[in-house]
């Protein structure tokens, strides 16, 4: 990429710039005519020039040229003699021409501005794409030094002004410069003197203003750097918020942010001062010219050396001169500004030794398996600080062997993993696979034939499934079927992408390389995912996530029908006397003792905020329903009862006491608040209480569950009243709340509730020993009976992993990473120190399964493994073991043979 913005823009937009230049030039004559016309109208029909005699006419639209006498003896050629019009007719005709010119000028402007806008956006699109493209080709060391939010700010915000400028880069000076010259020429033609005056002042502006602006640009540059750093710091605050809490560092961060903001503020303030001073100067100079025009032009007019029409035209024309001049100055300022922004961004985006483009070429064909041995010779790696990570390593490993790499932390095993995965380029020596040097292999070979997973895994914010299949998405393999409209959109996308130098690949196509995964279709892929998740011990966790997940009935009509079936089966099973007390199902005609008062009233799952727990007490419709049933006052009294007991019981307790954890519907700091509410309303009833107090006390009643709190506040009569209110609430539900609740219905799937709640359609009873566990076992049994486990597992795959995968535990992320490395069936799987937090037994179980799987992964052919173990004792599961110490390979061989020697291997095992 070019370091000069102008060259970058010119090299990509030559043709468009040329075209728009032509259009601009084309618009100039009408622009000139547009200025000349007022004078003709004033001097001609209005003041009567050429109409001195009665009944005089003038010819309109006459086209005639003066020509040399050898062409025509008359010295004039008349092409069209024009229409003869009287004074008024001539005025109308000329005014019409004026109107026409207004339209033509406006249309020219419209076309030019739209074209410029598109040109700018297109170039911006290209530039952004280029920048992101570059990030993916940066050497690893450069990326490590980059702060993610800073890079994001550069791509997103800092180059944004370029978009507006690029369209103007070449056109603006031509267009407004042309306008200015037109005006100047026009003024010159009218009066050389006045023209010279205008010219001198314009030149003065052109010299003085850029000088003043120098400092402005310097400040702008600093401001940009500071703002970028601020973005980086804000990103850091977000990323390290846990560290801020555990170190009580929040005030230090506040001070830091405050000082940065102060610097930015001061710079901005100075910028404003300077900017407005320049503006003032500009305006002043612009007003000086008309002053001179009035004085000098008036003098000429009075002396009769200039007609008044001319003077009016000059002044009218001059009115249009400051605008182009100002725009020219503005353009120049923006030019410098964006040039600085551009070159600053380019500095960050032009590291040495970027990855060649060929290495990331789109490769749609299958890639042949790797063959031969892995041969590492004389390998050395030096880190940023000059420390040796490994040195003089030489070894050979068959590609189909399962090798374990052992050693203490930072002994070198980790670095070898990174080299084998192509993440780190060796400082010296080389690593060959078969005949090829690993660092010469393109990514479409290494990225498909080698699998890698390290301890630190950053997942994309997407579903588990998307994160897993990420390793199969190398190229759009099967185009998507589009209908006519979509196909047109797609065509347009390709056209636009091409003209902006973007990728034309269709992100909506099917990218999954099913062949690489060893499956024939999407269905088999599902089965393969289940198999691999079982290998890495993640299938059960996905099943649990699936139970907690929600599904869209429209997309899975078959599944929801079977879940309703599971619900019925569970209900049957719960009729067994041993289980009967465990769950109280939701029954439209009965009060559910295990559910809250609110749940009993709504008898459905709230969608959105309108009927959520927090919003319930202030929901107008519910209040009307309650009022009609006389329940509003009773719930208020019930809330009073709860609050009285709780305040009495907890009043003496310090607010941080652990017993407060038992209190689910009130926070410790709410106790004094409720105390006040109670005192305030000691002698008032519902009718006299304030709206806020009403809501606060009712809120307590809404959350009340009798078996949980045992305050004897719900009698049979109250329950009957609540049941009646439930019916009234549902029957009279206004339309605008229709989407705010999904009612329980034994025959229908509730899209707003989780899968588990749908199967249960009831509440697990309070206080039954091992109740939840026994119910879950029963659900598990029924799920298996109906063969639903895989389908619910599938729902779990839709779980959103959160930013960076933070909604999963570290071990879950590592398991997912391992699954991702396995699903693409590479020839060589490299695993770098994962599962350190699992105990040895769990690690061994996963290892055994994975090693077995890998042995027959390619339809009988084995793939190799290189596993830097977190637990050295597990090495005996492998064919081969390497022991690293201080960056050197100190021992290698069969694990059982090594165990017999009293070498480094034995020492490691003893150390545990």
């Amino acid at each position: 990429m070019d370091h000069s913005l102008f060259r970058y823009v010119w090299s990509h937009t030559k043709k468009d710039q040329g075209w728009i230049l032509m259009v601009v030039l084309l618009s100039m004559p009408t622009y000139f005519l547009f200025f000349d016309l007022p004078k003709q109208i004033v001097n001609g029909p209005i003041q009567g020039g050429g109409f001195e005699t009665e009944g005089a006419t003038a010819s309109f639209l006459r086209i005639a040229f003066d020509v040399p006498s050898w062409i025509s003896p008359a010295g004039r050629v008349e092409i069209f003699s024009g229409f003869e019009l009287d004074r008024f007719g001539y005025l109308v005709a000329m005014s019409m021409v004026f109107l026409l010119l207004v339209c033509i000028n406006g249309l020219f402007k419209f076309y030019i501005n739209t074209f410029k806008g598109r040109l700018g956006e297109r170039t911006l699109r290209r530039l952004r794409f280029d920048l992101v493209d570059r990030i993916m080709r940066f050497p690893a060391s450069h990326v490590r030094r980059m702060r993610a939010p800073e890079a994001a700010t550069m791509v997103k915000d800092e180059i944004e002004p370029l978009g507006a400028f690029i369209g103007d880069a070449f056109i603006q000076p031509v267009f407004v410069g042309g306008q200015a010259i037109t005006v100047m020429v026009f003024i010159m033609v009218q009066s050389v003197w006045l023209g010279l005056i205008a010219l001198v002042i314009v030149l003065f502006q052109a010299v003085i203003i850029p000088r003043l602006r120098h400092e402005l640009l310097r400040l702008n540059k600093r401001r940009q750097l500071l703002a970028r750093e601020l973005a980086g710091r804000v990103g850091e605050v977000v990323d390290t918020v846990a560290d801020i809490h555990v170190n009580d560092a929040s005030n230090f961060e506040r001070a830091d942010i405050s000082s940065r903001l102060a610097r930015i503020f001061l710079i901005r303030y100075e910028l404003y001062q300077r900017k407005f001073f320049i503006k003032f100067l500009n305006n002043f100079l612009a007003q000086i010219t008309p002053f001179l025009f009035y004085l000098i032009g008036g003098y000429f007019a009075i002396r009769g050396e200039m007609d008044i029409g001319q003077l009016i035209a000059v002044i009218a024309a001059y009115k249009d001169l400051p605008a182009p001049i100002r725009e020219l100055i503005l353009w120049d300022q923006r030019r410098l500004d964006v040039q600085i922004k551009y070159s600053q961004v380019m500095d960050q985006f032009s590291p040495e030794e970027m990855l060649e483009r060929d290495k990331q070429a789109v490769h749609t064909d299958a890639v042949a398996p790797l063959t031969g041995d892995i041969a590492v010779s004389n390998l050395g790696i030096v880190d940023d600080t000059g420390g040796e990570l490994v040195s003089r390593l030489t070894f050979k490993l068959p590609l189909t062997q399962a090798s374990a790499a052992l050693g203490k932390a930072n002994s070198g095993a980790e670095s070898v993993c990174e080299v084998l995965a192509g993440l780190v380029t060796p400082t010296s020596g080389q690593c060959r696979i078969g005949d090829a040097n690993l660092s010469d292999l393109p990514e479409y070979v290494t990225g498909r034939r080698i699998g890698y997973v390290g301890a630190e895994i950053y997942l994309r914010q997407a579903s588990v499934r998307d994160n897993l299949l990420y390793s199969l998405r190398h190229a759009p393999l099967r185009p998507r079927d589009y209908d006519e409209k979509e196909a047109r959109e797609r065509e347009r996308f390709v056209r636009d992408a091409r003209s902006a130098g973007n990728s034309e690949l269709d992100v909506r196509a099917s990218w999954e390389d099913l062949e690489a995964a060893g499956v024939g279709d999407e269905h088999e892929l599902g089965a393969r995912i289940y198999e691999i998740f079982n290998l890495v011990d993640l299938a059960d966790e996905m099943f649990v996530l699936g139970l907690r997940g929600r599904i869209d009935p429209d997309q899975h009509p078959g599944l929801v029908a079977r879940l309703v079936e599971a619900r019925k089966k569970l209900r049957q099973a719960l009729e067994h006397p041993d289980l009967a007390q465990l769950v109280e199902p939701f029954d439209a005609g009965a009060y559910n003792d295990q559910a809250t008062v609110a749940e009993n009233l709504l008898f459905g799952t709230a969608i959105g905020d309108a009927l959520s727990e927090a919003g319930l007490a202030s929901n107008a419709y519910l209040q009307t329903v309650l009022a009609q049933a006389g329940l509003d006052a009773r719930l208020f009294e019930m809330g009073r009862g709860i609050a009285t007991t709780v305040v009495e019981i907890f009043a003496d307790l310090s607010p941080d006491h652990p017993l407060f954890e038992q209190l689910s519907f009130m926070e410790a700091d709410e106790i004094p608040v409720y105390d006040t509410v109670l005192k305030r309303n000691a002698s008032t009833d519902f009718a006299a209480a304030g709206a806020e107090d009403r809501a606060m006390l009712q809120k307590l009643a809404f959350g009340y569950v009798e078996p949980q709190y045992r305050l004897s506040l719900l009698d049979a009569e109250m329950k009957t009243a609540l049941l009646a209110a439930r019916k009234a609430f549902r029957d009279g539900l206004p339309e605008d709340l229709g989407g705010a609740i999904a009612f329980y219905d034994a025959e229908r799937y509730n899209a707003a509730a989780t899968v588990q709640d749908n199967i249960l359609l009831g509440r697990i009873a309070y206080g039954m020993a091992n109740g939840a566990q026994r119910v879950n076992e029963e659900i598990g049994r029924i799920v298996d009976e109906l063969d639903l486990r895989a389908a619910i597992f599938d729902v779990g795959l839709d779980f959103d992993v959160g930013i960076g995968g933070r909604r999963l535990t570290v071990v879950q992320r590592q398991k997912l990473g391992l699954a991702r490395a396995l699903v693409k069936r590479p020839d060589y799987v490299i695993v770098n120190r994962i599962f350190a937090s699992l105990d040895e037994g769990q690690q061994a179980a996963i290892l055994r399964r994975v090693l077995d799987f890998v042995k027959t992964m390619h339809d009988g052919r084995a793939a190799g493994v290189f596993w830097a173990l977190a637990a050295p004792r597990l090495a005996d599961l492998f064919d081969h073991a390497q022991v690293y110490e201080g960056g050197r390979l100190v021992e290698q061989g069969r694990p059982d043979a090594l165990a017999k020697k009293s070498g480094a291997y034995s020492r490691l095992l003893e150390a545990g």
């Binding site: 019981i649 017993l659 038992q662 206080g767 020993a769």
Partner: protein, 154 residues
């Protein structure tokens, strides 16, 4: 069975008998009601326990493992507490408790009970007093037994 009733039951247990009503209410309110069905075990001999159970309704069998199999040593009913040693110190359960009928209990966990004693030292003093009485009684019994043994041997 409401909180008020639970407080009554708690009051009838010597360990808690002299606690102020408000404290008993707090203990009752923050404790979980657990229902065991016939045959379910509240705790098992040898396991580490973390809770005591106040029996509110129903009856339970206390059994100990002997070389000759299980031996029922006692039955407990309403207004008694089982496993209370577990909420004071870490010792394995000395017996297995099994519900003989549907059994309503109030589960008092060690954490909750200890946090109550740290907040209100008078609770601790009260418990100490009860334990000291028990110790005195046990010591007296021991002296008695020793005397009997000596008499028999002598």
């Amino acid at each position: 069975m409401s909180l008020e009733d639970e407080v009554e039951v708690l009051r009838s247990i010597p360990l808690f008998a002299n606690l102020a009503p408000a404290k008993l209410k707090l203990l009752g309110f923050t404790s979980e009601r657990v229902v065991f069905s016939r045959g379910q075990e509240l705790c098992r001999q040898g396991e580490v326990g973390d809770a005591a159970y106040v029996i509110i309704e129903g009856s339970a069998d206390i059994v100990v493992d002997t070389p000759g199999g299980e031996l029922s040593v006692a039955q407990v009913e309403r207004n008694s507490i089982v496993g209370e040693i577990a909420i004071l110190c870490d010792v394995p359960r000395t017996a297995t408790v099994r519900a003989l009928s549907e059994l309503q209990t109030l589960k008092i966990t060690k954490d909750r009970f200890l946090s109550l004693t740290t907040e209100f030292p008078e609770v601790a003093v009260e418990v100490m007093r009860v334990l000291a009485q028990r110790l005195a009684a046990t010591t007296a019994e021991l002296t008695d037994v020793r005397k009997q043994l000596q008499e028999r041997d002598g």
